[in-house]
Assembly symmetry: C2
Homo-oligomer: 366 residues x 2
């Protein structure tokens, strides 16, 4: 079946792939149990650690799977029924951390936030010295566009001696992140967000403390074993046949970003986001999150008569533009405009031209 | 890092991708929470079921992960500590089924076979009426090249009312397989074998009995939940962001095979394998398995002085040809020549020209 692929893609992932990285996707996929491929993987590990500001003796692993595979592997690889976790639950990805912990019978408390609400010191206060061993947070709650105050969280975890797991799947490269300064033990990301490579691989950097914990535990899931991943990774290999093609694209992209520097790539994304946010103020669409990540802007129509999902549909069908719809309770209320991937100000121009037309047609007003 | 990709690829996967399918790998990866992508996935489900000879009311699911992800999902999704499994263990993939069952505390007995040895009625005899609930087998034990007698296994399972899980990761499209006639409940395969698409997706067809069992059980792994996969699959979706690009290539390839028919594709692979096996008889290399799959020919040097791994290395470094080395105990003793993917008789010619040269150089004789 043919499927349309030429939309301007403002989704939150998979995002638009840079042309030279996309071209690699058509090349032969080589046999991987070779020293050449091991060298490539060891280089990727080293580059990823550098870009995340990893502490000394940190390790990185690459899993063949969705971002959720990395969330699952981190939770079931580091924690057991004897732990007690604190989870920031401000949207569907925070909720996913809760579901994963529940699936493995790991006790947890959830800090429930309203959709779009930031986390504050007041929220954390009652959890001080609460007997927790780990803290799980989606640095950027991608479902609502909220970027959490990571300094606040880092301080809380240091003070309470908690293992800190940071899902930076959509925040990596979009927002400032230094694993060592933050005191994070695991930071996760995925191939299809700011790395702008096809989806299929998720990855993480682990502090030496996290690595030790992994080797002290029996993982609850065989396939997602971080122990096996770390062990095979010592020689640049994976326990099972990985998504070799995507790993080669990840390596090329890490080298590409390394050549300009992480700061330059982050600044590029920030500029696209800032351009969009400055211009969107003139439209009857309100920013849903007051603490947004540079990865995405979540928007809600000012008029309650206007359906956010309808805007997504009209942009897709009539303007060849993909924005990101929300699911569940937020489906009619919120849509998101992503700023990751190989987007330019000219793409923003095209989106605003479409929004101007929607205005003229009375679709943005109730 | 640049990595060499232009070898003639006789590995067992990733294999050589047909040119038109490879080209799709460079195209934009579309946003997937759309009705277009759902339609594509529902078409893939229907084509895969047809090609496996699925019984009525069967379902198919696609997982983002290695083939091992599908093995793991099948075991932990269908069985619990109250089951008792019988596992054919004739090589490293049989051993993997044992490890997976062990990881989830599912009781099992392993039928231990020597490397390269076929399974016979005599092996099964002592397990009749043994209180088993499930039977796990790698139809083709890819590590040694043995194709098991599936009629024998199907009859045993029917007689003993066992849930039959068939890992056909490398046998699918290479060897005759009809799920309904066999009475199999789950048949697994992967993207990078005969489907000849990049690695990163594994898939399976489930009988209605297997689907019922999945919904009756709580899966042991959150990410690999077949329950979530089946539920989301009803509308052509996946619970988490899948490897969208690879799924589009799988759909194109399923359509390509469907256009010529499964039998024609199987015959094409059989011809490549038969051509190779006829010609290899004149070389000092013995077939390691007397019951080979058409997917691969495993070979062992007649002279015990010759290292199989050395042959792999010389072919790779000096002739630009990749064959598949073995690991562990068999590393020095066995190498494999795959027949899957977009290979031709001309590729066999190139391999034999190289083997002729190795003969001349005295590398194949001890």
């Amino acid at each position: 079946m043919e499927i349309k692929k030429d939309h301007i893609n403002f989704s939150v992932g998979p995002v638009r792939i840079p042309a030279d990285i996309a071209r690699l996707g058509a090349e032969p996929v080589p046999y991987f149990r070779t020293t050449d491929f091991s060298q490539l993987m060891l280089e990727s590990e080293s580059l990823l650690k550098k870009m995340m500001g990893a502490p000394e003796n940190a390790r990185a692993v690459f899993l063949t799977g969705s971002g959720t595979a990395a969330m699952d592997a981190a939770v079931n690889g580091l924690f057991t029924k004897s732990d007690k976790l604190l989870i920031v639950c401000g949207g569907s990805f925070g909720h996913r951390f809760c579901e994963i912990s529940e699936a493995y019978g790991i006790p947890y408390d959830a800090i429930e936030l309203e959709n779009g609400q930031p986390l504050t010191a007041a929220h954390l206060k009652s959890y001080e010295a609460g007997g927790y061993t780990g803290f799980l947070v989606n640095m950027h709650e991608t479902s609502t566009g909220v970027l959490y105050d990571m300094d606040l969280i880092g301080d809380f975890c240091r003070r309470n001696h908690l293992i800190l797991v940071v899902d930076a799947i959509s925040a990596f490269l979009a927002d400032p992140l230094n694993m060592e300064e933050l005191g994070a033990d695991i930071v996760l990301t995925g191939s299809q967000k700011a790395l702008a490579v096809p989806p299929g691989v998720s990855m993480m950097v682990l502090s030496s403390r996290a690595v030790e914990r992994v080797f002290d535990h029996q993982p609850a899931c065989y396939y997602l074993s971080l122990k096996a991943a770390l062990k095979n990774g010592e020689r640049g290999q994976t326990p099972f046949t990985p998504a070799v093609g995507i790993l080669i694209q990840i390596n090329a992209r890490l080298n590409q970003i390394n050549a300009v520097g992480v700061e330059a790539e982050r600044e590029r994304i920030r500029c696209i986001a800032t351009d969009f946010r400055t211009r969107i103020q003139n439209y009857p669409l309100r920013m849903f999150s007051q603490a947004p990540s540079n990865a995405v802007t979540s928007l809600t129509p000012v008029s309650s008569e206007v359906s956010a999902f309808h805007i997504f549909e009209v942009l897709k069908e009539e303007y060849n533009i993909i924005v990101c719809p929300n699911g569940g309770d937020l489906a009619e209320k919120v849509f998101r405009v992503g700023h990751l991937g190989n987007l330019t100000i000219a793409d923003n121009d095209a989106l605003f031209a479409a929004l101007d037309d929607l205005l003229r047609r009375g679709i943005l007003h109730g």
